[in-house]
């Protein structure tokens, strides 16, 4: 049992933290806010160069990490500055599915992802599927895809999409889901792009007899989808811990400097105790992320038990920390200009990807209680 980072991971963490601290200035944030994609090309290139994308993949896959603790480490650092670069979408979902299912030719795409030269997105969820991973209504006929895909994060910037479609079975069956690689400018594909509350962009995607190249065996996409979703859930949970750490620092600093009634407001016990409760939940969330990182490659039952436990706890902690930090700041916490706004918005939105607290509590009951 050991909770220390290995030397390699420590070096990666130090380098990445330094890099992001230098890059993520208020000027960059406002530049990102006005951008087409919702993130910075320059930072993405920089992350690839430091090896952050490679850290998501094993040596066999062309990376140099790929373990749960590698994912958690980089995602937490990105969270610490509120970074919006599409590590999850291009890396863990797009790259992850190619790594799991791609043939020799398709693996070339993964090399481009790791090098930072290729943007991807997973077009899986549909209007009405909510967080249900097996609910797919998009059809495939003679290799042509038709249907609608909802809130496809990074769907506007991606030049390659991975699209799920049902080749057999009922709408919610795990069996019968097929995956395809689709060119973003393929015929019959339309995208309506928009910015996201928590930063980054997404798109609603309509497919109308759109051609795609099969990725993996027909009808057998579910296991790989579940696996990359577990890894993505780990990443967004670790990112949330980074966000919460950053918010905690902002809030304690504010409590020490803001004076009312003749003293720093941090001297008031009512506020001290609320901060203490926040800190406890942040540490609980950190432990939950460690638990998931250590089990993300376990068999499906153990993995998914930890996925649901961690995402539930992180979702609850995220809401508490966001709401309490705004309250403890008072009026300044309500302003868009102050650094808290972006971090808190991004943190609140964590509960809306890969299953919220309601979804994961229900799933945890099925897996580990009853």
């Amino acid at each position: 049992m050991n909770f220390d980072l290995t030397e390699e991971r420590q070096m990666l963490q130090d380098g990445l933290r330094r890099y992001l601290r230098d890059q993520y200035t208020p000027a960059l944030l406002s530049q990102i806010a006005d951008s087409e994609t919702g993130w910075s090309d320059a930072v993405w290139a920089g992350l690839a160069e430091i090896g952050v994308i490679g850290a998501l993949f094993t040596e066999d896959q062309g990376g140099f990490g790929g373990a749960g603790f590698d994912i958690a480490l980089v995602a937490e650092e990105l969270g610490r500055v509120g970074a919006t670069e599409p590590l999850i979408d291009t890396g863990l979902l797009g790259g992850g599915l190619i790594a799991a299912l791609g043939d020799a030719d398709q693996q070339a795409l993964l090399e481009e992802v790791i090098a930072g030269h290729r943007q991807m997105a997973l077009a899986h969820s549909e209007p009405g599927s909510r967080y249900d991973l097996s609910r797919v209504a998009t059809t495939v006929t003679d290799g042509k895809l038709s249907g609608r895909k909802a809130v496809v994060v990074n769907g506007g910037a991606a030049d390659r999409l991975i699209v799920s479609a049902r080749s057999s079975g009922d709408v919610a069956d795990e069996a019968g889901i097929s995956l395809f690689i689709v060119d973003a400018d393929a015929p019959g594909l339309t995208r309506r792009g928009y910015p996201l509350t928590g930063g980054g962009h997404a798109a609603e995607i309509t497919l109308d007899n759109t051609p795609g190249t099969p990725l993996g065996a027909a009808g057998e996409g579910y296991q790989a989808l579940a696996q990359v979703h577990a890894r993505a859930t780990l990443a967004i949970s670790a990112e949330a811990v980074g966000l919460m750490d950053a918010i905690r620092t902002l809030t304690t600093d504010y409590l020490k400097t803001r004076k009312q009634f003749g003293q720093p407001i941090g001297k008031f016990q009512a506020l001290q105790h609320r901060m203490a409760d926040m800190l406890i939940e942040i540490e609980q969330a950190r432990s939950a992320v460690i638990n998931l990182a250590g089990h993300v490659d376990a068999d499906a039952l153990v993995r998914d038990t930890h996925v649901s436990a961690t995402k539930t706890l992180v979702g609850q902690a995220a809401r508490l920390v966001a709401e309490e930090s705004i309250q403890l700041h008072g009026g300044i916490g309500m302003t868009q200009e102050y650094a808290l706004a972006h971090l808190a918005r991004r943190l609140v939105m964590v509960d809306h990807r890969f299953g919220d607290t309601l979804y994961h509590t229900e799933r945890f009951v099925a897996l580990a209680v009853a």
Partner: protein, 396 residues
Amino acid sequence: MDLHYTDAQTAFRTEVRDFLAEHLPSRLSDKVRNGQSLTKADHEEWHAILNARGWLAGNWPVEHGGTGWDAVQRHIFEDEMTKAHAPRIVPFGLAMLGPVLMAFGSEDQKSYWLPRILNGDDWWCQGYSEPGAGSDLAAVRTSAVRDGDDYIVNGQKTWTTLGQHANMIFCLVRTSTEGKRQEGISFLLIDMNSPGITVRPIVLIDGGAEVNEVFFDNVRVPAANLVGEENKGWTYAKYLLTHERTNIAGVGFASAGLEQLKRIARAEQSGGQPLIKNPLFAARIAQVQIDLMAMATTNLRVVSAAAAGQAPGAESSMLKIKGTQVRQEINALTMQAVGPYAMPYVSEALEGDNDPVGPAYAQARTRQYLNNRKLSIYGGSNEVQRSIIAKAILEL
């Protein structure tokens, strides 16, 4: 980062588990599982079994007859003990006084008192709290005035846990009223059979009487029973409070309690099906189970830092708060689970003289719920712990 135990640690766990399977009397584990009271003889029997194996003093070094275990081994041992529903080791002599004597006692005190603790010759209790000194411990007023080779002690201690069984008490007493309050406190060992001592039980909200008031009326105590230096008792008291804290989260108690809760929720019927199938109840179990999974890792993070030689500081305050919240929630859910059979109060059944009204698992649940309201009050109330976190970690 590695969540796995080493081979040696896993082997140790197996060794502990096998020992408990063979040597823990089922009469005792049944009582613990059903939340019934243990007698003094029960505790002494279990201590003697552990002492015969050399496992009674988990936090003592080998030279004093302890195990010499590191923090991870202690954690594994405590974990297996609670999972097996073993009686907890009564902490007053072993976990509290022993380490203080080793650190600050004279050679005579060490060679006399430490073996007696291991052999069960003395039953110690703790004389810290007073009517006017609870969370604010430095307010102790019980006085000890030097008179030749003795101290004359006057005053009152309260919340003295299992003081009714004790023949010895270690006390914080005031030996000076000058300077800072903390600088006039001494650490004194007092024979409970001394003339002038009266012990009066306090019946608690659960109907039990595990705590007492202890009155001192001109009690003569040999000055040889002063530990360390006069007026330095505050240092020793704080040492005692921070020394043995790997188990402050009570992960083992919570795990055993959760398992028991699920067992009851499977046995109880609600709407024609097991209670555990009720989605609202199952969601509450899920919540506490999820909290416990994370807390177990938070605890291990602190334990492994302690094993690496870092003293647990204010992190133990976080564990205390979260640990007591989890355990109290489990108690509340367990009481809810037994439904109407939470209501009967049959004291004979609670003492283990079994003729329960309703299921045996139900009879002590309300008492346990009420009794464990203490968890968030004692050992520094959870509000005091929050203030410690605010100052020591958040630096507010």
